[in-house]
Subunit: 294 residues, 2 copies
């Protein structure tokens, strides 16, 4: 009924001053415009222009249409541009899922050069998923997933992005601070501070305490890395974190890393994405950037 072309005609006629000129701009004949508008006028039951001599003057209806056109057409034009940008992978929102609390610090380092390189791509970070990180990937809640637990399933691609050692963090004055390594039973009388996630996902339990049949004296959970380390520094407990993270904080806080067991706990962080999305420039670029960043 009232179509985009009608708005375009009204707008262009106003700009050009005549149907004929507008027809040229719109790459159709003057006749086509005349027919189109006549039909619209019949359907609406109102004239859009007053024919005065050989020129047209907008009626009230026409002015209303013109205002509508000026308001709506730019939105449609912009939409076409945007959609083509989406198509070429030049614009979009990269939704990053995090299944690894301390990785947040690492992510920040990657995101800032990424944002600089892709000014038209927005980044969104999500940390809670109804059906787990993998589910969020499959369910298109997120586009990439930062996780220590890759799952090689058809349709997904995981790449290791960095390795680190998970260590125990203790306060500088703590008896274990000068130890070369710590054994499970030495934690039996300690307060262990972790992020609030299931025990199954805490390596210090899975790979260290539980195999030895030990549990800590108490288990506290804290959301944020900063506060967690403050607590450790003040002697309220010990925590398990990546070595690089502890070293970064070592300047500001009196915390010391200690190897967990004789060999230490080696960890690897993976970046997962949907196979299909590797076609999208800005997704591929993010994965590539992460692989390069040590």
């Amino acid at each position: 009924m009232l179509e985009r072309i009608h708005l375009a005609i009204v707008q262009e006629v106003e700009r050009q001053g005549s149907l004929t000129a507008a027809a040229d701009i719109l790459h159709v004949t003057q006749s086509a415009l005349s027919h189109s508008m006549k039909k619209l006028e019949q359907q609406l039951g109102t004239h859009i222009w007053l024919r005065e001599g050989r020129s047209l003057r907008l009626t009230q209806s026409g002015q209303y249409l013109l205002a509508l056109a000026e308001r709506v057409l730019p939105q449609l034009d912009l939409a076409e541009v945007r959609l083509r940008e989406f198509a070429r992978g030049e614009r979009g929102t990269l939704r990053i899922g995090m299944e690894c609390h301390p990785c947040y610090q690492w992510l920040l380092k990657v995101v800032s050069p990424y944002l600089a390189a892709w000014p038209d791509v927005d980044v969104d970070v999500k940390q809670k998923f109804q059906f787990g990180g993998i589910g969020a990937l499959f369910g298109y809640e997120i586009d990439v997933l930062v996780t220590p637990d890759p799952l090689f399933k058809p349709g997904l691609r995981f790449e290791p992005v960095f390795d680190y050692e998970q260590v125990l963090v203790v306060a500088k004055g703590h008896p274990l601070a000068s130890a070369a390594q710590v054994r499970p039973r030495q934690l039996a009388q300690e307060v262990l501070i972790t992020y609030p996630v299931e025990i199954e996902r805490l390596d210090i339990y899975q790979q260290f305490l539980l195999p030895a049949g030990i549990t800590p004296r108490r288990h506290k959970t804290i959301e944020t890395t900063d506060i967690m380390l403050q607590m450790v520094a003040s002697g309220r407990g010990v925590a398990a974190l990546p070595r690089w993270l502890v070293q970064e904080y070592a300047d500001k806080l009196d915390v010391v890393p200690v190897r967990l067991g004789a060999r230490g706990i080696a960890k690897q962080i993976f970046l997962g994405a949907r196979e299909a999305d590797t076609a999208i420039d800005y997704v591929r670029a993010f994965v590539a950037l992460c692989s390069q960043t040590p």
Copy 2:
């Protein structure tokens, strides 16, 4: 290229959940929709839906289109209605949104001279909005908004239309009736009657009780001003209303206004409209009339 029908399809598919159902609503075959959208997808170079099994899920492009549709289609629909109204010689309908309960009494005073001055314009008053009054303005649900909370955003214009003092209303025999002013703590044992809106929008809470850390003994809500004042007059509680409103009722009911705090609560009511609509004479006239009416 990107036509109205495409937006309608995206919107309707989202509402109905399937192409087939949407096709019924739009009175065409499923095949037609499939062909149309396929063509659009080819022209844009991007998919609009991910075909998952037998259902469709919007891509980023699709979500963008959906947002565009929700924004643009109502405007086109409204335009058709308006233009037909113009065609019939009617001027149209001025849809007034109210976000301020007691203003209704004031509105009546403005509307009657307006109706007299604009016999071809109908007036419609709406009080419920899904996304708030501002949202209703942007979404073309209403044409003007009466509100105590203006929001100076591009595309909207707000003008103050009248000032008043918010006062406490008590029954004539009430202990506070003869007080020059009331303090927050004096309401601690009172029953407070308000309109049923969120506490954030009740000035007596925001500007009077909460800063003093006081809550009334009980809080009742009543929809209508008349009944509210009947309740106050019969000693069932106290309420906060505009002074002019209380004075109007003072003849019929035994209610007395009392200043809230030493300085009183000053309020200002604004009339908001879309910038683009200032071109419409009967909208402009309404705003002008409101500004003049004290």
